[in-house]
């Protein structure tokens, strides 16, 4: 079957069924159904509000649950001012020992070059270096 015949046959498709359709009766029934069945707008709106409410409950519940299981922020962290105060109490030798121990922990590549001359640094310079670290 070529395309032309295909189109001709397609044009006839459903023609007899459509001819049998009682158009006036269909129009009458459509109007009756439109009058009888109110537009589902209220149903739609109610459904949407229910969904929105459910979503809000889920989000609030989720946030609450996360807040419960997550440790309070900052409880394990040290405030920078406190660290500075603690450093002020250390002697030059203490600071030097502390920096040396850092060297052992931290990879050499991330330690500033200035730590290579630690013995030459005075107390103030060592404090500054530790604060930067």
């Amino acid at each position: 079957m070529n395309e032309e015949k295909l189109i001709q046959a397609a044009k006839q498709l459903g023609a007899s069924a459509a001819e049998r359709l009682d158009v006036e009766a269909t129009a009458r029934k459509v109007l009756e159904r439109l009058r009888e069945q109110p537009a589902p707008r209220t149903v739609w709106t109610r459904t949407m509000w229910l969904r929105i409410a459910a979503a809000v409950v889920l989000v609030v519940g989720g946030v609450f649950a996360v807040a419960r299981v997550t440790p309070e922020r900052g409880s394990g962290a040290h405030h920078p001012d406190l660290i500075a105060d603690e450093l002020r109490d250390l002697s030059t030798d203490d600071l030097r020992t502390l920096l040396t121990s850092f060297d052992q922990i931290i990879d050499e590549s991330v330690v500033p070059d200035s730590t290579a001359d630690l013995p030459e640094l005075d107390t103030q310079a060592l404090r500054e270096l530790l604060k930067e670290g």
């Binding site: 079957m1 070529n2 395309e3 015949k5 295909l6 189109i7 001709q8 046959a9 397609a10 044009k11 006839q12 498709l13 459903g14 023609a15 007899s16 069924a17 459509a18 001819e19 049998r20 359709l21 009682d22 158009v23 006036e24 009766a25 269909t26 129009a27 009458r28 029934k29 459509v30 109007l31 159904r33 439109l34 069945q37 537009a39 589902p40």
Partner: protein
């Protein structure tokens, strides 16, 4: 009270009148487009026993959502896209109830042997072939071949591009030829 619209009033005027609550305008739109819609639905696989209900349902959905019709295509074309959705929902309900799957709908056109005899062999073969096409191809083919619409119009109705509509049509024709051969 507003004057009744003449029967030959354009669709846009009838739609505007229906928006203002004129039921006669809605009746005029049904009278104007029901048969074309029935042909489209029938071609897309609607069983004849359900055709009247499906046509009604399509018009009801269209009238209720008429605010969404922005004149992007003809009212009739828009109606057919709604009809496609109505038919899809019907097929889904039918398969859930396991009464009659949509695929069998074309084969059984209501149980009247006379109706079977009326369908030409070519129509029956095309109807059979159309069942095997994806929905987009089937609808583009029907809108083009059965309803004689331009690709631009089809594309506007189906929210695609004219080029894509053309491709769907050619795929449909090629597959129909293969199936029917």
């Amino acid at each position: 009270m507003a004057q009744p619209l003449p029967l030959e009033a354009p669709d846009t005027a009838l739609i505007a009148a229906w928006r203002d609550g004129d039921e006669q305008a809605a009746a005029a739109l049904v009278a104007r487009h029901a048969r074309a819609l029935a042909r489209f639905l029938s071609g897309a696989g609607a069983p004849e026993a359900e055709l009247d209900d499906l046509v009604q349902e399509t018009f009801i959905r269209a009238f209720r959502s008429v605010d969404r019709f922005r004149g992007q295509c003809q009212f009739r074309t828009w109606l057919m896209t709604i009809g496609g959705n109505v038919l899809k929902d019907f097929g889904r309900r039918s398969s859930r109830r396991q009464v009659m799957p949509l695929d069998d709908a074309v084969r059984d056109v209501g149980g009247d042997p006379h109706e079977h005899a009326e369908a030409t062999e070519a129509e029956a073969r095309i109807a059979e072939g159309l069942k095997k096409l994806p929905r987009m191809q089937r609808e583009v083919f029907l809108l083009r071949a059965q309803q004689g619409l331009e690709y631009e119009e089809i594309a506007a109705a189906l929210a695609t591009s004219p080029g894509a509509a053309r491709v769907h049509y050619h795929h449909a024709v090629r597959r129909l030829k293969e199936i029917i051969a």
